[in-house]
Subunit: 484 residues, 2 copies
């Protein structure tokens, strides 16, 4: 927290104290204050956050399961970390985005902040546990105090699904596996129309050096380049020159280069050009060639574009960088980036006791945007998985329904009844239909006397009278045919 | 936040500002400050919080899956809510525990707090979405700024698994289903030695009224009674008399009653006593009788104890209350409560625009304690699910290994290789053994020339030379026998 922010917070707290005193009287001490000043209680989620309804959760579970399947296919193990970190862990890792970190006042003395991503906590984890190598995935919420466009699926609280490879490995192998994984996941979700942009921080640094950017301006210029997917070159150049003090001639030299994209052809073109003599650029280009070769082996080269305008905003990247973008949808709407990542060889070293680093590379799936797309696709996703509704058309049989229900539960069949003493049979049938419960088990006085249960297929309306002793097994075999 | 707390926070912020200024110089502006005052960077999780390792995550996933299975068996749908709520949503709901709520300073103007449980956010959700009835489950982290004994599995950040029934239903049906669900879940986790204590707030209120407690002292006396599971009656009485100003004679009358437990016998005894004439107690006792009858129908009466000392700390309960406790383990260690809940018919009304409430009852599984127990039980849980390791004993075959690996991935087989150019064959076999990878696919020059692949069963060391064209199918059928 800067001194300015402290002052601001103190002022806000004073205001709060005043309004607190004003509010204290109307509400008795232990009673809830469900009225604000205007006398109306505003029911809402915090700004930029949302509830997930059962329909949305059903989609979310499905998407998570598919992503986990892909992570496991590549042998990743799962970890989790606290939603908070000591604030100093996060400080200085996110460049211009550091202002978006949520801070928290712990009266216990520790200064805490909510995690901004899963990468920095992962690096802290690797350093703290002195891990030499790990392939890990983590699916968890992160927090950014942004002013998000919620209609576009952007929130202040959102899920990320990350996979990262930490360890000393043969060059470009795990970098390529990240690209392959992104392709796997998007294809698993039936989103086949996408491009994985790749670039390399060493190539960008080489370009900046080659064009004459002063070294201490590399990162600021890099984050200007990063805006090329949303802004025109003219606007980006303006930022470089006017905000970041770059010589316009230098900016123009950069502009020619960073608007190029291709595959092996572009690598060759750059290697043959003056830029090829820059040491940093040459090293990056050699990595890129290997990455593309390996992508070919992994059958995903057709999805990959070597794109010099890709820069990524974060400070900690040191090598390969990625970003996956979906092609505009049928209405021409641009969803934008659905995955991003890169190599960060120095981050673990920032935390390690002796500064000894572990090279890392990873990718993060922008799951909230995928949810939004999948929600539109899967509007018919069933939220409950009840297989049998226990019903009766006669009065006074509540306890008999409960007995049948319990037999089903004890045999691991998902079952429910209406929580009314004497519901109408029609109401019960309608409930089975709207909730798409495939089977209804019906009991009445005659069934009770004869030791029978009636089973009704909700779809076909066919009914079958079966022995009570075997009714669970009969239900189970009927369910197989109901396709539930 | 009370005025006092505001003052305290302001003071703390001032201190922070001073130390901030002192700290500012040694660390350059955008560089990470990985050193604190002493020159050493302390790598840790926030107080009372922890990382989950892959071993722990494997156990956690297994426990979650079993619990979800039980929730789904009863037809519950899943929701999720933000980790934060507007602070006023949480105010006045938790009695003496309100001081444990984590507050957060949002510079956007909203005063936010981290959720303390999942019940209040659920009630807010039901009111906000004007839901008439729902059976929902939610598995999520909650936050309490406690001074927890981490060795006993208590944390400041921990998971809760809640199921709640909202809606106007036939008396005691959903209350009983909560008991049944707790029994289902603990049995699903092979923890068969437990008791579900049940009691009723109306019986407690009846006892307090009958014994002569002034009405405005009901809740404070109730939370004193709640401590009877950890403290002796003498200590509890002391709290009632000395801290809460109760007449010692009244306390003694309470003491005789709240130390009773039983089943139908106790209900009869109380109904026949003077207490039976108290209107509130009589209503509660009638509910309890129905609950026990229904538990008998659901086959779980033997697990249930009607225990008058059970009070539950939270303010919002209005009817049935529950708590499940495990029997002490082999070493006589007491794990304590592993589930708790109750009926809260007024909570939704506190949020609803016209104060119209929806009756609710629910139970929360204390999953962290169950993790701790399950971690001890399941020390051999495998963390990765790799089925095939692709290996070679010869140099220069990296790309050939990658091709085989890709064939396996594209056929949905979980596979990996070592990320080295030329690893030793022995190293690769050892990796398969330690990671318990059932099958190794080996390629060498001769296999390459002959269009073959060698498949090796890690357990039996048996090898089989198969055609490259059918190697994926061969691997798949061998895996069936490996029991992977």
């Amino acid at each position: 927290m800067t001194s300015n922010m402290v002052d601001k917070t103190v002022d806000e707290l004073k205001d709060l104290k005043i309004s607190e005193v004003a509010l204290q009287k109307p509400c008795a001490d232990s009673k809830p204050s469900n009225k604000s000043k205007g006398g109306k209680f505003v029911l809402k989620c915090p700004k930029g956050m949302r509830d997930y309804t059962p329909d949305q959760m059903a989609v979310r579970e499905l998407v998570f399961d598919k992503i986990k399947k892909c992570f496991k296919k590549h042998g990743a193990v799962q970890i989790d970390t606290p939603v908070m970190e000591l604030k100093e862990i996060l400080t200085g890792k996110y460049g211009e985005d550091s202002k978006l970190i949520y801070e928290l006042e712990d009266q216990g003395g520790e200064i805490l902040a909510l995690r901004y991503d899963l990468t920095v906590p992962f690096a802290r984890y690797v350093a703290m546990k002195k891990i030499k190598n790990i392939k890990r995935y983590q699916i968890a919420r992160v927090y950014r105090r942004d002013n998000p466009a919620m209609t576009k699926g952007r929130y202040r609280e959102f899920y990320q699904c990350d996979i990262d490879f930490a360890g000393e490995y043969e060059r470009m192998l795990t970098d390529t596996e990240c690209v392959k994984l992104v392709c796997d996941i998007l294809q698993e979700l039936d989103m086949n129309n996408f491009t994985v942009k790749v670039n390399h921080r060493k190539i960008l640094d080489g370009i900046f050096e080659h064009c004459g950017v002063p070294e201490d301006n590399f990162r600021p210029i890099c984050s200007a380049v990063d805006k090329l997917d949303k802004e025109s070159w003219e606007d980006v150049k303006k930022e470089m020159v006017e905000t970041k003090g770059l010589d316009p001639a230098v900016a123009d030299k950069i502009g020619v280069l960073v608007q190029k994209k291709g595959q092996f052809d572009l690598i060759e073109e750059l290697e043959k050009s003056d830029l090829g003599e820059n040491k940093s650029a040459a090293a990056g280009l050699s990595d890129m060639r290997l990455l593309l070769e390996y992508c070919e082996l992994f059958g995903c080269l057709d999805k990959v574009s070597f794109d010099l305008s890709l820069a990524r905003g974060l400070d900690y990247y040191t090598g390969t960088i990625y970003e996956a973008v979906l092609a505009p949808d049928a209405k021409g709407e641009n969803v934008g980036s659905v995955a991003g990542g890169g190599r960060y060889d120095e981050l673990v070293g920032m935390f390690a006791p002796k500064g000894r680093s572990i090279p890392c590379v990873g990718v993060s799936i922008g799951i909230e945007r995928l949810f939004t797309i999948m929600e539109k696709k899967l509007q018919e996703c069933r939220t409950s998985s009840i297989q049998v509704l226990v019903a009766s058309g006669q009065k006074g049989l509540l306890k008999e329904r409960m007995k049948l229900l319990n037999m089903l539960w004890d045999n691991d069949i998902n079952a429910e009844m209406l929580y009314k003493a004497n519901p109408k049979l029609l109401t019960q049938f309608q409930h089975a239909e709207t909730e798409r419960i495939p089977l209804v088990a019906i009991i009445g006085e005659s069934e009770l006397q004869e030791g029978k249960v009636k089973l009704r297929d909700t779809a076909t309306k066919e009914e079958k009278l079966v022995d009570r002793a075997s009714f669970v097994e009969e239900a189970r075999s009927l369910l197989l045919n109901c396709g539930s």
